[in-house]
């Protein structure tokens, strides 16, 4: 089936992108599963493990590479780096470093939809570590009180930098906190892209129909260090081995082979296309010019014309 093949396609990409792209490793299924469940007019605030969301929404790989290189054609034109980016035309809002500062923003998007009585949904991502911050609480409380069309996606990859979950929170499942805000919480195996898709779809459609917020907790393991410099010495090797068996891409490949008659030829075809796509992307990104220092101050203040964005309609 094409839809699924496309998702597989994207998952492959994820596994194949070099360098800092690896920071989402182990989370590709979660990211892609949720993004695939979103409607075209839905919006979201994906974070640093959610490259798969941008790719699924259709950001061209070469522009992502240009972003990493700080080039003029990256979504932030060299103003910000790595996954601190988004394409407004695709309904995505660029994250800030401060976690989970984008959750109140996602709730605000949902508030706009509710005021205008549009059947659109906002999706807000956060990690299990940043669940400890006040922003998570204020956002979920407001969303619960007003029953806004927002889905909170907690990527629980068991570590916040070097901090294990028992030093971050003292409840069994973060999804259980949803009850404290008057909506539903669901725990999902984040390495099973189809399960994620199913639950995300249900939550998003529920919100769309006026059923209020849902808190999805996607359990995964961060399969590498917090970032490239971190070798994750503090994570028990057994844990890595155990979760390696549940690699979302492998799981989905197996599923495709067993249920979607994915053949060796098709797979090689996909890998081939991906390799080419990324080679072309790299070349194209490399041709993107460096930003011009003379324009540094241009972007500080918004002009009335800036308001003609899909965002602001």
């Amino acid at each position: 089936t094409r839809a699924i093949e496309e998702r597989g396609h994207i998952l492959y990409k994820q596994g194949k992108i070099p360098g800092s792209f690896y920071t989402g490793r182990g989370n590709e299924g979660a990211a892609v599963g949720v993004a695939s469940a979103m409607g075209p007019d839905d919006v979201g605030t994906p974070l640093h493990r959610d490259m798969g969301v941008h790719v699924t929404r259709g950001v061209e790989p070469w522009r992502i590479l240009a972003q990493y290189m700080g080039r003029e054609d990256g979504p932030t034109r060299g103003r910000d780096g790595n996954v601190h980016m988004a394409d407004a035309r695709l309904g995505m809002i660029a994250m800030v470093s401060h976690l989970p500062a984008m959750l109140p923003v996602a709730v605000g998007c949902a508030l706009a939809f509710r005021i205008r009585e549009e059947k659109r949904v906002a999706v807000g991502w956060f990690g299990e570590g940043s669940a400890a911050r006040g922003d998570a609480h204020e956002a979920m409380n407001l969303a619960g009180v007003r029953q806004l069309p927002v889905v909170f996606v907690c990527g629980n990859n068991q570590w916040a930098y070097s901090t294990p979950t028992h030093l971050g929170y003292a409840v069994e499942h973060l999804a259980d906190r949803a009850a404290a805000y008057g909506f539903e919480g669901v725990v999902v195996d984040g390495t099973d892209v189809l399960a994620v898709y199913r639950e995300a779809k249900a939550a998003i459609e529920k919100a769309r129909e006026g059923g209020g917020p849902t808190l999805l907790e996607l359990k995964t393991l961060r399969m590498e260090g917090h970032a490239v410099h971190d070798d994750a010495f503090y994570v028990p090797k057994e844990l890595f081995e155990e979760w390696a068996k549940r690699d979302p891409i492998e799981r989905f490949r197996t599923w495709l082979r067993e249920n979607a008659e994915l053949t060796d030829e098709e797979e090689d075809g996909i890998s081939g296309r991906v390799k080419k796509l990324l080679n072309d992307a790299l070349a194209q990104a490399d041709e993107s010019p460096q930003p011009d220092p003379a324009t540094l101050l241009d972007g500080v203040w918004a002009t009335p014309e800036d308001l003609d964005t899909p965002h602001h309609k």
């Binding site: 932030t76 103003r79 109140p104 605000g108 998007c109 500080v300």
Partner: protein, 325 residues
């Protein structure tokens, strides 16, 4: 055209915008049934309903953060802080998200945050502050501080129209004390243009907000008692601030006093004095004097607060020193 209080002008201006632009909505603590702590939105919820005049939970980051999200989706949110002092609870959102989103991602954040600010009535350390200096230092945030009813309405309209995050400082001490003629129709007072509150020749006072009236009083006294003519420039907006108007006045008077209600050290008066010193060095016949609150929290006791907030006598003293220089 009718005579209105500063508070009425804000209230009417906001209602007018709510009527003409359905993208505009109000959110804050007790802004609905109660009409806001200062009754600026009194009766609004009856007219516009609970989804355009939104009583929020007690959560400033949720309020302002939600405004940012709604603004990105095409709304024109106007948040009310119950007192300006509580904006400290939304500091991170404003400086981290709202101020930088346009620069980083090209996404404008057209929100307005209304901030009842200022002292003079024994509000104590947490109901009297003037935090504009803290925000004026953050690139991407605008700070508006009207002194007259006419400006209060016109600048509020401008703030709502502006595609950037605007902090709208309403001085509580002016709410009911200051009356003035306010046009009934809609009009825009441009952000970034100062006004000359009083023409003068000898000394230029640069100020904004409630201090405009303190300066004017002092100017009167100097004119009468000392025959010194004092010009009073009302900045109207602190970020952006009207450097050209200030420098013109400085070149004319060649003596300057910068006056604000916030504390002195690190206050925005330092920026203004430094800029004048840098760009009008040759025009100055005396050191630029700053009259500000001393470096401490706003005290509760009326006697202490009087010693804290710059009084007419303090300005007179400063002006006399400049005149004698």
């Amino acid at each position: 055209m009718a005579e209105k209080t500063y508070l009425q002008a804000i209230s009417d201006g906001l209602r007018q915008e709510l009527r003409r632009d359905e993208r505009v909505f109000v959110i804050g603590e007790d802004v609905g049934v109660y009409g806001g702590a200062f009754k600026v939105t009194l009766g609004f919820q009856e007219e516009f309903g609970p989804w355009r005049i939104i009583d929020s939970p007690l959560a400033e980051t949720a309020i302002v953060g939600a405004c940012t999200g709604a603004a990105m989706m095409g709304m024109r949110p106007v948040a009310e802080m119950q007192f300006a002092d509580f904006i400290s609870c939304a500091w991170d959102h404003l400086v981290t998200v709202a101020a930088k989103q346009r620069f980083r991602a090209g996404t404008p954040v057209p929100i307005v945050v209304r901030l009842p600010s200022g002292g003079g009535f024994s509000g104590g350390p947490f109901h009297s502050q003037n935090p504009e200096s803290s925000f004026a230092h953050i690139p991407g945030l605008k700070c508006v501080c009207p002194a007259t009813p006419e400006d209060a309405k016109g600048l509020l309209v401008a703030a709502i129209e502006d595609p950037n995050p605007v902090l709208f400082f309403e001085h509580k001490h002016l709410y009911r004390r200051i009356k003035g003629e306010v046009p009934d129709e809609r009009y825009v007072t441009p952000i970034g243009k100062a006004r000359t509150h009083r023409e003068g020749e000898d000394i230029s006072v640069i100020t904004w907000g409630a201090m405009v009236y303190t300066a004017d009083e002092a100017a009167k006294q100097l004119e009468e008692a000392d025959d010194v003519s004092v010009e009073v420039i009302d900045l109207r907006t602190v970020m952006p601030w009207d450097k050209e108007a200030v420098l013109a006045s400085v070149r004319k008077c060649s003596k300057v006093l910068v006056l604000h209600e916030d504390t002195r050290t690190g206050g925005f008066g330092g920026e203004i004095a430094a800029t004048i010193g840098e760009e009008a060095f040759e025009d100055l016949d005396a050191p630029i004097k700053r009259v500000c609150a001393p470096d401490c929290p706003v005290p509760f006791s009326p006697i202490l607060e009087k010693a804290y907030i710059p009084q007419v006598d303090d300005v007179v003293k400063g002006l006399r020193e400049l005149a004698a220089y």
